[in-house]
């Protein structure tokens, strides 16, 4: 515990790196995942197939392998050699998490019954108006709980970066446990940081659910 207090700046730097990894990867995954979902529910069959292939390929690959590819295999082929480690971490996390975001968003769109869209068209709304005012608001509401789960899993997944050159929470924890006798205290302290992050995501999700609750 004394080690942690003496070197609290190192602990906080690691926490900050985990936050950066989580927030940047989260944003990239949400954007890219939603685009993928649009491809998969869209009318153009080539794009649909492309989206389906991406999800099948990436979702069935362990995250560790994605990291190995980005951090070890790609540089050996001459790619990403000068890329900052944080950017590589965000790329690996986002490539993986997007597939899960895509499926969560797609399930939300599918949850809105076809009748809603048909009714919107019947009263003369354009496609954009139909999507923007009728389908997507309902879809987003349905998507909040599964998306929160995806983002929570992603936040904890960032710990894999510890063995790929990024001194985030888990990497820093191993720095402290290497020399220390009271490993348990160190584990608990670092676990608490993850719990804080995950609780923030949960609280955000609950807030959104409340705000978008349907008046029935």
């Amino acid at each position: 515990m004394d080690d942690l207090l003496d070197q609290y700046d190192l602990v906080l730097q690691a926490f900050w790196l985990t936050i950066q990894l989580s927030v940047l990867s989260g944003l990239c995954s949400l954007v890219f995942g939603t685009l993928l979902a649009a491809l998969r529910v869209g009318p153009i069959s080539v794009l649909r197939a492309a989206g389906t292939t991406y999800v099948a390929l990436v979702r069935n690959t362990p995250l560790l392998l994605v990291f190995v590819f980005v951090f070890i295999a790609a540089p050996n082929l001459g790619w990403f050699v000068g890329t900052p480690f944080l950017v590589k971490g965000v790329i690996a996390m986002s490539v993986y998490t997007s597939a899960f975001v895509c499926e969560a968003v797609r399930s939300g769109v599918n949850a809105v019954s076809v009748g809603q869209a048909e009714a919107a068209r019947a009263i003369g709304l354009t496609f954009t108006q139909t999507m923007g005012s009728v389908v997507l608001p309902q879809a987003f509401r349905a998507v909040v709980p599964p998306l929160a789960s995806v983002l929570i899993a992603m936040t904890k997944n960032t710990s894999i970066a510890a063995v790929f050159g990024l001194m985030e929470l888990t990497g820093r924890m191993r720095y402290f446990t290497n020399n220390s006798a009271d490993d348990t205290v160190i584990f608990l302290v670092f676990a608490a940081f993850y719990i804080v992050l995950v609780e923030l995501i949960s609280a955000g999700a609950i807030g959104l659910e409340r705000r978008w609750r349907a008046a029935r």
Binding site: F71, P75, N76, V81, V163, L166, G171, Y175, N178, N179
Partner: protein
């Protein structure tokens, strides 16, 4: 079965036998340097109630070593037993208990699990490039040092880094959670932790990081593998004193480990072990280090 087929079958059988024999030979080559003299009736040497007596009576011992450090402790995917200086020390200790090399159970330990493995009895001894530190001596026993090395840097042959001041602001790779990574961070380098040393070597070879750091002995092994691309630079800037880890519940082991290794240093077994392993990278066999005194039991 026609004549031709018979000849063919015989040829295949012969080839197969040859291949098997070749495998056997290869295995024997790997075990060189293991010509330790196994003590007979070793159990009589030890007092009742000591851990050494228990092990000698059982006729088997479990030793934790590294599997991923060429020269120190390395086991390829198809090898039966690890090779390196640490396993050689293990064989010397086991021989004193009357345990032959083939009766030793080798258990892979990584830097993080050496203390837990000793504490919960998964292994009897840890000989795994295990630097002696005061922090560690609070939770486990460490006898030694049986070898002293120091942290150095492995860089590309075209690198500008040739003194420790040059590492400030550069990216330096080592194993996550290792003391080496900690030391280089203190020198102002950006620490890049990976899972294994071989991944770090890759990062240096493909130019992602500027250097790799750990104990010089390990780096020399990698430089020897890629002499055209890699070189070891800077004078050792830390002193790593490798010790043999034992359970803190068996303090009597310290005297035994210390005396056995001192004997090996005197009768040349230590030097033989060094030449067969770390010495392969071209370094001269150093004088064996003086062993620490054991804490009063």
């Amino acid at each position: 079965m026609g004549h031709i087929q018979k000849v063919r079958a015989a040829a295949v059988a012969l080839a197969l036998a040859g291949a098997l024999a070749a495998c056997g030979d290869a295995g024997d080559d790997g075990d060189e340097g293991s010509d330790v003299e196994v003590q007979e009736n070793a159990a009589d040497e030890f007092d009742d109630g000591t851990r050494m007596k228990e092990l000698a009576d059982a006729g088997s011992v479990t030793i934790g070593v590294k599997f991923d450090q060429p020269g120190i402790g390395f086991k390829g995917a198809t090898d039966d037993a690890p090779v390196g200086f640490d396993p050689e020390i293990g064989k010397i200790l086991a021989a004193d208990l009357g345990i032959a090399p083939e009766d030793i159970t080798w258990k892979e330990t990584i830097s993080d699990n050496r203390e837990p493995f000793l504490q919960n009895g998964t292994v009897d001894l840890v000989i795994a490039s295990y630097s002696i530190t005061d922090e560690r001596r609070q939770v486990v026993g460490q006898a030694g040092p049986y070898y002293v090395t120091g942290q150095q840097l492995l860089v590309g042959t075209d690198s500008d880094i040739d003194s420790l001041d040059d590492v400030k602001g550069t990216e330096v790779c080592s194993v996550t959670g290792s003391t080496s990574l900690e030391n280089i961070e203190a020198e102002g380098a950006k620490p890049r932790g990976f899972d294994t040393y071989s991944e770090c070597v890759d990062q240096v070879l493909n130019g992602t990081v500027d250097a790799m750091t750990t104990d010089g002995a390990i780096l020399l092994g990698y430089a020897a593998e890629n002499p055209d691309q890699l070189k070891v630079v800077v004078e050792p800037f830390s002193e790593e004193r490798y010790g043999v880890g034992y359970s803190i519940d068996a303090p009597e082991m310290c005297e035994w480990i210390t005396e056995t290794i001192e004997d090996a240093q005197d009768d040349g077994a230590w030097a033989t072990a060094f030449e067969a392993t770390l010495g392969q990278s071209g370094v001269e066999t150093p004088d064996p280090p003086a062993m620490d005194e054991c804490p009063a039991a």
